[in-house]
Subunit: 352 residues, 4 copies
């Protein structure tokens, strides 16, 4: 049994972690930290948790937070928090898993580019820890994750795109130029803070693209794909919001490499993900939707190349709050804690 | 460990049961029966179950169904099926839990009235079993349920109304004449079969009342309340559909009995449900919504009498597919199997 | 052709007015006033208006606002604005129609009670104008509205309840004690300002009651019904939000007066509203939903008494932003301007 | 004033036409034809039309249909009907506008390919009329439409894609190989017939791609773009459904031609659509959403090339039932009738 200290407990990312740990046989929440709701049970902020999680929230700098008996600290916090908290947690003997971009890049150069893009201070506050950090896409990096002190949990869009492109890129079945990630997300990806664009009357029956100058998730996608390809890869990335609460539907395009076919592509995807518990590969004529992954830690990848036009096409379906965030985080915590990777995660969501 | 045979596995009521049993430590699905999808895994019909429930569906009259090693049979089937299946299952040594109205009334007279109302044959096919049947509202009848051969699981609307009215009626804090149940349900209450009224473009942004001549659930409400009151009780019942998938919001009205106050009412509700794991009582100014119970087996009751006008008012919130159906069914199965009542049910839903 | 000065142009109530006036043959927007977006075209705030309404917004105290050539001023503003603006507009020779509660009560006593309930200063800023104000429920007061200087447009909930109860109360077919208004509204009723309760992920699939201590609309309902009844009437009022953008479904209950029947009730409603263009009466078994009135200025009233239980029941359906706000306002402007009452309003909404 | 005979009045496409003609000053509905609801007013099928359109529906082969005084016949009917009806209507002296694919291709060869793709008889029933037919994308073909006997109204997806790609293709600013149309539609595009995939509980919070082997609309897109390019153009087309009722968001990709920039592209789009009433061009950082076009006949095109990756990108927003169907049809009827093109169409939708 490993104890978890959850920092940023009251956001959607924190709630997702709490929900999963409540049913986890070997990981246990021991400390809830937040800057809102301090001194009150979590269930005062979120009544649906009454009787399930009445743990009192403590402040980040409180003795209870500092002296937490936890083995792992989860930073379910926005950019900038984890790079301050991380070294403190590590010094206290805890491994760290961070939800933000603070530990997704393990060089100062890459972090500088990322920070520039999101308009933050380009100087990382924990450069030594950054260099040791591991990108938490479990299917690609589980060995390093098992040994890591600090894991940077992937962005939700990035998770859907990297899983959806990795086999084609790795096997050079798609041309390296001209990759497109057309991504549609549900609104929960933006968090719990109200905003005009997510006000119910403005969002119902309304879809739109946003951040067309470049979403920050594109960087981790390109970094991971470049590693897989053994050379630089760029992607055109279009984030879009559709009136769902949960789910990402990423439609991924490129040009088929010479000789590549739908059949070969499907085979490559099945081989690549053959033993993966959380990735399912489907042929173009098999049913798939974001509804199939709602509430579960699964990614469903539909291989649907268009040989007529020479287009590579894969459709990636995840729940942005599970495989795209808290589920992936628990998957990493399992690996970091020496537990079976699927522990506490091997259940479907509720339907409908 | 008790084995469960699930008849009608492929409907929403069947799925709800499967989802709950997949995480249940002591109840195990051993046989899935349906008339659709026979010979294929359940996950062929419902892809989200791939890898979680790939059990092959068998026909009702197949040897696998008849010779099932199950201890309990759950009829997640429409009216009329359970009264044919019930005696066969009991003869095979299985206890029976039925989702429909087939075993909600334990006299032939009451059943005749009910059958008349829903336009079915008034002659019950298993009159002996009917007389032994127990109404499966666990909070009111757990002792009889523990010993029952056959349990009739309550209707979803009825569950919300009976729980919401019982303490007031029992304690005579509300006048017996003039009770009103204004009930709003999500669309999943109508099942998985497509219909014009539930076609997405016709249902989004649209609410309406229906069956204004009288919904069949009114009968079980009146029967249970009359027993509690020790005299005849009638209710005016208005079923309404709102554009949600899950959830029932029942607003219950009446006239305060002489001397009854908001304070006394709240106290009576807290006393009545003091030890109940699945019923939470809230004061008029505490937050509550159907979102608080989505995905959980909980009923939240807000006591909000209007002393100015002399009105009794309680607002009852449940998830129609959990406390209103499969969750309540598992709660009953636990009791029928001698297990702790909350086993497998003590988790919140996923938010948002 | 009459000119309209619209104060509070950029809220949902302002937009509704603009949409209706764009297609109105005799009323013309001449001045748009707001405190947001001053100096920019309305379409800069609301891109869907580009090319349709590019009128530049002016500040309340600007010369363009003061010297507007308008004949009528519409205050699509929150409580408190109209009582300051009203006298100035009247002094400038303009009639005034106000959306808020500022002119819904024509005595200082009633206003004091109302102001107390909503936590505002109990001293009305324009007491003389208040006394001359007319309640803008056109079907009940069109003669006074035609002559009024100042009209207080009804609250959206109040519109649905008063229309739904008036014939029964007037004809004494319902008992005067025990009236209940169970009202469900779409989210747009709360306006354009984001809030946690209306954040898309918190609102989808979620219904709840609110302000259970008493919603301010109850006062105008009781006042109007008392006038019709010739004696004091109280109602128990439960406001609820359901996940729709537009629409109010008000289910109205009471006890049938001795001898009152469904047949007599239906007849009374048909007689009361026989010639009304914007009110349709339906029998209990005729289809009706909020979808039928979405985008139109119509109220649909379903008479569905329950003779078995002695309950009076009428279901009232309106679009909260049309018959509940801007449509009703245009109806009043037509009357105030000596135009045909249905001008610019005799169109259905778009379906689906 | 021209009279319109509407065939297929009771579907969503028929309703859209009725709604627009109710407010049209010069086009008047004179005959409503359908195979459902014959002998009853349209408002019996669609209660929201009560009092607005109570015209009695007549059967296709009735004398009232044959001897209709209409000048134009609109076939709001599925594939196969218009090619039988068309010659009869033309012989009766009426111009014809057809919603289906029956008259979108003016050669037998192209029609054969199309019919093959949708699994219909490859022999067109009215080959002579087919050859004279004009593709009803008004912005590209208004001169021919003005003189046409038969106009084939574009498919909704095709409308969004052709408008979105035409300027780039025409001006050779995008490479001819590698075009991608990633299209998301609301559910109303599938019509009023209930189906499992559009059942409210299955559709809410759920997005998916479909018909990945090739949607039939791809043919008209390729035909029109090839004409503009002066050479063969292929597109990879991905139809997707998102939980909206109305709206299409098409994100269009390709490779920038050598030297092409975001600036040049924007300029080319503004030049191409400079005088068009129904097409608005926006820069990448200007707000746009399907909500901006809901209920209006407008297309909004956001030019958002990604110079970093060399990607052409345009985002096209329309209301599938207006610019994608009935609005475009009325625009064509205006042109065919010698009326101003925007007559009856120059209004925004209702917001929110």
């Amino acid at each position: 049994m490993a104890g978890v200290k959850l920092i940023g407990a009251g956001g959607y990312g924190g709630l997702g972690m709490i929900e999963l740990l409540l049913r986890h046989p070997k990981l246990k929440l021991v400390t809830l930290v937040d800057v809102e709701g301090v001194g009150k049970p979590l269930s005062a902020m979120w009544p649906y948790m009454q009787g399930y999680c009445d743990t009192v929230i403590v402040a980040p700098d409180s003795p209870q937070a500092k002296d937490s008996p936890a083995d792992v600290a989860v930073c379910a916090t926005p950019d900038g928090v984890g790079q301050i908290t991380g070294p403190v947690e590590v010094a206290a003997g805890r491994k760290v898993l961070d939800y933000s971009g603070d530990y997704r890049f393990n060089t100062l150069d890459l972090y500088r580019d990322y920070a520039t893009r999101i308009g933050r201070d380009v100087a990382h506050k924990a450069p030594d820890l950054l260099k040791q950090s591991v990108y938490g896409l479990t299917e690609l990096h589980r060995r390093e994750i098992a040994k890591a002190k600090v894991v940077g949990n992937p962005g939700c869009f990035a998770m859907s795109c990297i899983l959806g492109l990795a086999p084609a890129v790795k096997n050079r079945l798609v041309e390296s130029v001209g990759l497109v990630c057309d991504c549609k997300t549900g609104v929960s990806g933006a968090g719990k803070k109200p905003a005009a664009a997510f006000h119910y009357p403005e969002r119902y029956d309304t879809s739109n693209a946003y951040r067309l100058t470049g979403h920050q998730h594109v960087m981790e996608i390109e970094r991971e794909l470049s590693v897989l390809a053994g050379g630089p890869i760029q992607v055109t990335f279009t984030p879009q919001v559709v009136p769902m609460t949960r789910g990402i539907l990423s439609t991924l395009y490129g040009r088929l490499a010479p000789g590549a076919t739908q059949g070969a592509m499907l085979e490559a995807y099945r081989a690549f993900y053959g033993n993966e518990f959380f990735v399912k590969v489907r042929d173009f004529n098999e049913p798939a939707s974001t509804g199939d992954v709602r509430g579960s830690n699964r990614a469903v990848l539909t291989v649907a190349c268009d040989e007529r036009t020479g287009a590579f096409r894969v459709i990636s379906h995840i729940d942005n709050l599970v495989k795209g965030q808290a589920g992936s985080a628990v998957q990493n915590l399992n690996v970091m804690s020496g537990l079976e990777e699927s522990l506490g995660l091997d259940l479907p969501g509720a339907h409908p």
